[in-house]
């Protein structure tokens, strides 16, 4: 496996969406290629950062206000 091959299957690898033999070849390449190993680790870090810090927060007060406004639309609330 070459670096280009690893780059192409990176998302599938992270999704766990690869055949066993493909995964074995990818892991063998990663063990030998510091650059690809850094890319994989960096991508995992990015995913973790996005998951932990990437959400636009609505805020408690606005969430409650919006729910009150929606309640006015309930079928029997008129």
């Amino acid at each position: 496996m070459e670096c280009e091959d690893l780059a192409e299957m990176l998302t599938d690898l992270l999704e766990g969406d690869v055949e066993a033999d493909e995964e074995e070849a990818a892991l063998a390449h990663l063990a030998a290629c510091e650059r690809c190993e850094r890319v994989l680790a960096g991508t995992r870090d990015v995913i973790d950062l996005a998951r932990e810090h990437g959400r636009a927060e609505i805020g408690t007060e606005d969430r409650e206000r919006m729910f009150r406004e929606l309640q006015a639309s309930f079928p029997d609330s008129q």
Partner: protein
């Protein structure tokens, strides 16, 4: 079992709203970058959910369904902005390099950094990453929400992550 009483409707809808509103708002905000517009999209999305409250039982399917409504509404708004670029009521609230007003409540420095990095991504890549990585939506649902095939969704996520990695590295370098 059908919903029979107003109380049951309120309880079920309240649960639906509380479980999903943060994700719906996040996706809307990451597309339109205008808090008022994002809130309008949230309201529209949950009003549609209210009309189908009896049919929304499978919790794993509900969130992608809600996000698809929000996504389509947001894309429609972006098209109106493009068609009417001088209409002040349709403008985003900030320059492209600034975090959105929906992020005012986000307190941490790391959240600001990630938000600014996300904002540098091309629109379809930003939403693909927001759906897959921020909201943990399965890849097949990312594809469905965005109305593309699975391969295209994977490509958008792949490119988005690569762009985000570069943007975060540049931010780290500039902060040295």
């Amino acid at each position: 079992m059908e919903v029979r009483s107003q109380e049951q409707v309120v309880l079920r809808f309240g649960d639906l709203f509380n479980t999903n509103v943060d994700a719906v708002f996040n996706v809307a905000q990451r597309l339109v970058w205008n808090r008022a517009d994002a809130e309008d999209i949230v309201q529209t999305t949950f009003l549609k959910a209210l009309t189908r409250i009896d049919q929304l039982r499978d919790s794993e399917r509900v969130r992608p369904w809600l996000l698809q409504i929000a996504y389509r509404d947001a894309i429609a708004l972006l098209r109106r902005r493009r068609d009417h670029p001088t209409d002040p009521s349709l403008l985003p609230e900030h320059a492209a390099s600034q975090p959105g007003p929906g992020d005012v409540a986000v307190a941490s420095e790391m959240a600001r950094i990630v938000t600014e990095a996300l904002n540098q991504l091309e629109e379809s890549e930003r939403i693909a990453v927001t759906l897959r990585d921020v909201e943990d939506i399965p890849m097949r649902d990312v594809a469905s929400i965005m109305g593309v095939g699975l391969s295209a969704a994977k490509m958008r996520v792949h490119r988005g992550r690569a762009s985000l990695r570069i943007a975060l590295q540049e931010d780290a370098r500039s902060g040295m």
